[in-house]
Symmetry: C2
Subunit: 335 residues, 2 copies
């Protein structure tokens, strides 16, 4: 039995190894991905995002327990594209792993940190595909609140949960201007804090604007698809959760399910699959092209061409045209 | 005289029109870019970033006046990749424009908002290239604090200024975990506020970690280039500015100049030019490929291939390989 078949059959060690292959972009990983791809497309992928300190990890942990108590399986992917010296996420995950590690119904994966945000997005997408294929019906993807990961997770997830901690007061609207828009569900965590009520009010005061304009994502999606989404009628709920008081988890789970049902009934689930398929094809097209560039043109010639651009002897568009012609000539000649 | 020559000769209306062409990716814009490219590479590009509400716009405005008082020219590019319904930046810019509009030594440009973060980055890069070519020695690029723009601006700018407002208290380290790393200079704005001192202390307490690990960027750069930067010795200064008390601008200008000198003396300025040249060539390569895809394969066939992926009849990597083969065959046959 090969590794993909073993992972499909429920072998967790095979799954772990396969995820490492996929994450590292090995040839064997790509082959397994191609093999598993027909099984994907069923999982509900939920992005959990928000600033560090908002309590995302604790919330995800509690959510996982609640889901497990209902007898449902889930996978958790923790993405940390920040610096090698933050490292907090990995430590935290290990602690959480221990609490849930005896339970075979939950699978947790921390993505290794890497400098290239685009590479991280691609690796996360591939890891989610594998977890989807091997049959986890719910995949929680937890990302830190800063930087490019916000946008990337929105492209990947069916449902984006924005976790907000109380105490920002009037600044919320401004501070979260770029984040509010990608949220399908907003959670005010640490709702036991006295400032929580003010935070909810502040969020409610900015929500009408969101509602009147509809649901909109800042992403690499086609504009027409964004327009289609704007026309639909999902109202972003503002929920309150508290780890201290063990409160709000049922409501959050109900909202996740309601959003999934909304996506399916409105036809957006299918549109999202189409959109993701196109994004993946274009992403692979670029990777294949860069591989061709390396194989057919070579690093030495690429560096030489880049040098002419740096010295302003050539402009980037013309240099790229030249390289593309070289690729086409070499690949054409090889046929 | 063509438009590029007119812009080079100091015609501001020609420059505005040219920037629109470039921003919209027109053929004429690309031709002008190629024509102007040899003149680029001289400007000091400074990214000014931080959360909305930190007072970036006011700071940029004051900085512009201070620079003008010294008799130096500058350009300002305001990038707002957030939603169509925020719109704040455009209004604010117009107000600022009015204050500086009688001064021909400063040129201000607001980038139109667009959904595609990658397209925004490319357009911003092209706009900066034109402003560089026509002779602005200093270009301030102001971006909102959320989302992908953080990372993109770091790739483009020589110097990244992170603007922080006081009052976040102990949360700073966590909140800014993803942003601190891209900063070359940290500014605590609104330093007249009583909480400013605490903010400075909080920032100083996280800085030693940055210092021991050196200067590191989360970006699409080559890892070896990051490693080269880590080895260098720039200490990120923490400055205080206040619009109310008109304080700290000279120090900030001095820090900008010190960082530029540091880049030049350490050889990083040249490395950055090489790196930017490579990023631009690769970016154009992808654009040319997508254009070839549209021309040689066509939207109908692309959609059909994406459909097979959505229906899980084909995996994305194989589908992309198929499309690339079609491009190569068509382009090869055409030769």
């Amino acid at each position: 039995m090969d590794i993909a078949a073993a992972a499909l059959a429920g072998d967790r060690r095979a799954l772990s190894r396969l995820l490492s292959w996929v994450e590292n972009g090995t040839v064997a990983g790509h082959a397994a991905l191609a093999q598993l791809f027909p099984q994907t497309g069923e999982a509900h992928v939920v992005g959990i995002t928000g600033a560090p300190g908002a309590g995302k990890s604790t919330l995800v942990n509690q959510l996982a327990r609640e889901i497990r108590e209902r007898g449902q399986k889930l996978a958790i992917v923790a993405v940390d594209p920040t610096s090698p010296y933050s490292g907090g996420a990995l430590l935290g995950d290990r602690l959480r792993m221990r609490a849930l590690s005896t339970d075979t119904g939950v699978f947790m994966r921390s993505m290794a940190s890497r400098g290239d945000a685009g590479g991280m997005a691609h690796a996360t997408r591939d890891v989610v595909s594998v977890l989807d294929a091997v049959g986890y019906p719910l995949i929680l993807v937890e990302t830190v609140g800063a930087g490019q990961s916000q946008v990337e997770v929105a492209c990947m997830a069916h449902t984006v949960v924005l976790v907000e901690a109380p105490g920002m007061g009037d600044d919320i609207q401004a501070l979260k201007a770029g984040l509010m828009e990608i949220a399908d569900i907003i959670v005010v965590n640490k709702a036991d804090k006295p400032e929580a009520r003010q935070t909810v009010r502040a969020l409610q005061s900015v929500r009408p604007g969101m509602r009147s304009e509809g649901h909109h994502r800042v992403s690499v999606r086609e504009e027409k698809q964004v327009a289609a989404e704007v026309a639909t009628g999902w109202e972003v709920p503002i929920l309150q959760t508290s780890a201290l008081e063990n409160r709000g988890l049922e409501e959050l789970l109900a909202a996740l399910e309601a959003h999934r049902d909304f996506l399916k009934e409105s036809g957006q689930w299918r549109a999202r699959l189409q959109e993701n398929a196109r994004a993946e094809v274009e992403s692979w097209l670029q990777r294949h092209l860069l591989a061709l560039l390396a194989d057919e043109v070579g690093e030495a010639r690429l560096t030489a061409v880049v040098d002419t651009v740096r010295r302003r002897e050539n402009d980037p568009a013309s240099a790229a045209q030249e390289l593309l012609a070289a690729i086409l000539a070499a690949a054409g000649g090889a046929r």
